[in-house]
C-alpha cells in the first residue's frame, strides 16, 4: 500500500473504528464490524476500506494471519486524546490549556462528582510534580 503524508486527526467514521479497535486491542474487519451498532448497516468492503485508510494514515498496522488481515492500533487512545486536546487548546483557546479547563469547569453540565474527580487528578499531578 502506498504510504502518504500522515493525516493528524481522525474523521467521525475513522474514530468510530479506532474506538472499537482500541477496545478490542486488535482485530479483523469482521471483528470490528461485529462491534458496530446493529443498525449501522455498513458493507464489509466499506469497513475494509476504512481500515485501509487508517493504515495509510498511520493510525493502525496490519498483519496477515491465516489469510485475513489483523489490524492493530499504532497509536494509544490516550496519546490521541492528548493530541486532540492540544489541537483544541491551540485552535480554540489560544494555546492556553488553563482556558480550556476553565471553560470545562464553568460549564453547568459538570456534576459535583466530575469536579471532585478533576480536583483529585490535579492534586495527584501536583504531588507527582513536587515529588
Amino acid at each position: 500500500m502506498r504510504q502518504k503524508k500522515k493525516s493528524e486527526f481522525l474523521t467521525e467514521v475513522e474514530l468510530e473504528f479506532m474506538t472499537e479497535l482500541w477496545a478490542l486491542g486488535q482485530g479483523s474487519v469482521r471483528d470490528v464490524l461485529a462491534r458496530l451498532a446493529p443498525g449501522r448497516n455498513l458493507a464489509y468492503t466499506s469497513a475494509a476500506t476504512i481500515l485501509r485508510i487508517l493504515e495509510q494514515k498511520g493510525f493502525v498496522t496490519s498483519e496477515k494471519v491465516n489469510k485475513s488481515l489483523i489490524y492493530k492500533p499504532a497509536l494509544a487512545r490516550e496519546a490521541y486524546q492528548s493530541k486532540s486536546l492540544r489541537n483544541l487548546s491551540d485552535k480554540l483557546f489560544d494555546g492556553t490549556p488553563a482556558s480550556l479547563v476553565a471553560r470545562l469547569v464553568d460549564d453547568d453540565g459538570l456534576s459535583e462528582d466530575a469536579l471532585e474527580e478533576i480536583r483529585a487528578l490535579l492534586d495527584r499531578r501536583l504531588t507527582d510534580y513536587d515529588g
Binding site: 502506498r2 502518504k4 503524508k5 493525516s7 474523521t11 467521525e12 467514521v13 475513522e14 449501522r40 448497516n41 455498513l42 458493507a43 466499506s46 476500506t49 476504512i50 485501509r52 485508510i53 495509510q56
Partner: protein, 374 residues
C-alpha cells in the same frame, strides 16, 4: 505578430463573447416558453456549441481572409461593421462632420494604440487593470489546481477503472470530479463510505458529468477566466454552463432509473447541509465539477431549489440529436458572422478609407482657408 494585433484579437474575442451571451440570453427566454424548457441536456449542448463557435471564431476569420485573398468573394464585400459604417457614411446615409466621423471611426484603433504603447493615462489604466486582474485570477487558478492535486495525491486510491481513479479523502466535504492530462478523478469524502446510498449516487452523478464532457469544459473555462475576468458575457456563459450541467446531469442520472428521486434529492440536500455546516477555510471549487456548490448566499440556495424542482417536474423525453443540431446551427452561423463583423478597420488603406481621409483633409483645408480670409 505585434502587441497591437494581439490586443485587437483580444477585443474581437470579447465582442464575440458578448454577442454569444446576448444570443444565448435571448434563446433562453424563447426556450422557456416552449416544451424545451426542461431539456437540460439539449440546452447544455447548445451552450457548449456556442462556446465552441466562439473558440473557433479565429479559424472563421482566417478562412474568410483566405477566401477573400483567393478572389472567391467580391472585392467590394466586407462583413466588417466598421467598413459597412464607412460605406454608409460615404453614401450620405447619415449626416456628420467628416472629422468627427473619422475620430469615431478611428476610436478603436486609437484606443488599441494607447493601451499597447501605454501612450495615455487611460491606456495605462486599462493595461494595469487587465494585467492585475489576469495575475490575480491566474494565481488563484494555480493555487486551486495545486490544492486539487494535493488532495488527489494525499487521498486513498479506492478504485481504478478505465482511466478513472476514485479517490477517498477527508479533506473535502463535497464529492467532485476533475481530470489531469491522462486520467480522470472522482474525489469523495471518506465519510461517504458509511452512507452506501449517497456513495452510489455521488459516483453515478460524477460519472454522468464525465459522459457529458463537463470536466474538459470546466477546465477550459477556468483557464480562460483570467483572460476574460471582466467580461460580463463570459461570466454569464460560465454561470449558465455551471447550472445547466447540473440540471442535465440530475435528469440523466434519474432517467437511468437506478436511483430513486427521493433518495437523489435527499442526498443533494444532505451533502449541501454537511458542506455548509463545516467551517472549512478554503473549500475547493475550481477547477472541479462538484456534486453541489458549497457556497452560501441566495443564488446557491435558489439554484438548489431549482435543481430539486426541475427533477420533480421532469416529464418529457430529451430531444433527439437532430433537433439539438438544428437548434445549434443558427447560433453557430450568427457567431461566425458576428466574429467577422466585429473585426476592426482593415489594416490596408481601402478605397473608402482613402476617400474619407481625402474628405477630412478637404474639410480642414476649407476651415484653414476660411480662417485666413476673415
Amino acid at each position: 505578430m505585434t502587441a497591437n494585433s494581439i490586443f485587437n484579437a483580444y477585443i474581437d474575442a470579447n465582442l464575440v463573447l458578448l454577442l454569444a451571451a446576448l444570443l444565448w440570453f435571448a434563446a433562453r427566454v424563447l426556450l422557456n416558453r416552449t416544451s424545451f424548457r426542461q431539456a437540460g441536456l439539449m440546452q447544455l449542448q447548445m451552450v457548449y456549441a456556442i462556446c465552441l463557435a466562439v473558440a473557433l471564431a479565429p479559424l472563421v476569420i482566417a478562412g474568410h481572409a483566405v477566401v477573400t485573398q483567393a478572389g472567391l468573394l467580391g472585392s467590394g464585400y466586407s462583413p466588417s461593421l466598421s467598413d459597412y459604417a464607412l460605406a454608409q457614411f460615404l453614401n450620405g446615409r447619415f449626416q456628420m462632420a467628416p472629422s468627427e466621423f473619422e475620430a469615431l471611426w478611428m476610436s478603436r484603433t486609437v484606443f488599441t494604440q494607447q493601451v499597447t504603447t501605454l501612450g495615455s493615462p487611460l491606456g495605462i489604466m486599462v493595461a494595469a487593470v487587465l494585467a492585475t486582474g489576469f495575475s490575480i485570477y491566474a494565481a488563484r487558478l494555480l493555487r486551486n489546481a495545486l490544492k486539487v492535486r494535493s488532495v488527489i495525491r494525499g487521498g486513498f486510491l479506492w478504485r481504478s477503472l478505465r482511466g478513472i481513479d476514485i479517490v477517498l479523502t477527508d479533506r473535502v466535504d463535497v464529492p467532485f470530479s476533475t481530470r489531469g492530462m491522462g486520467r480522470r478523478y472522482i474525489v469523495l469524502p471518506s465519510g461517504l463510505l458509511s452512507q452506501a446510498d449517497d456513495l452510489r449516487i455521488a459516483i453515478a452523478h460524477e460519472l454522468q458529468h464525465m459522459r457529458q464532457g463537463d470536466l474538459g469544459w470546466e477546465i477550459a473555462v477556468e483557464v480562460l477566466r483570467p483572460v476574460f475576468f471582466w467580461n460580463p458575457g463570459f461570466a454569464y456563459l460560465k454561470r449558465e454552463i455551471e447550472e445547466l450541467r447540473e440540471l442535465a446531469c440530475d435528469q440523466q442520472v434519474l432517467t437511468r432509473r437506478r436511483i430513486g428521486l427521493q433518495d437523489y434529492c435527499d442526498c443533494l440536500l444532505r451533502v449541501c447541509d454537511n458542506a455548509m455546516g463545516r467551517n472549512r477555510p478554503a473549500q475547493i471549487i475550481v477547477p472541479t465539477v462538484p456534486l453541489v456548490r458549497p457556497e452560501g448566499g441566495r443564488r446557491a440556495a435558489r439554484f438548489l431549489k431549482r435543481r430539486v424542482l426541475s427533477m420533480l417536474t421532469q416529464a418529457q423525453a430529451a430531444p433527439s440529436r437532430l433537433v439539438t443540431g438544428l437548434m445549434i446551427l443558427p447560433f453557430v452561423a450568427a457567431i461566425s458572422f458576428g466574429s467577422l463583423a466585429s473585426q476592426s478597420n482593415s489594416a490596408d488603406w481601402s478605397q473608402d478609407r482613402l476617400m474619407l481621409s481625402t474628405i477630412v483633409n478637404l474639410e480642414r483645408l476649407d476651415q484653414r482657408t476660411l480662417a485666413t480670409r476673415y
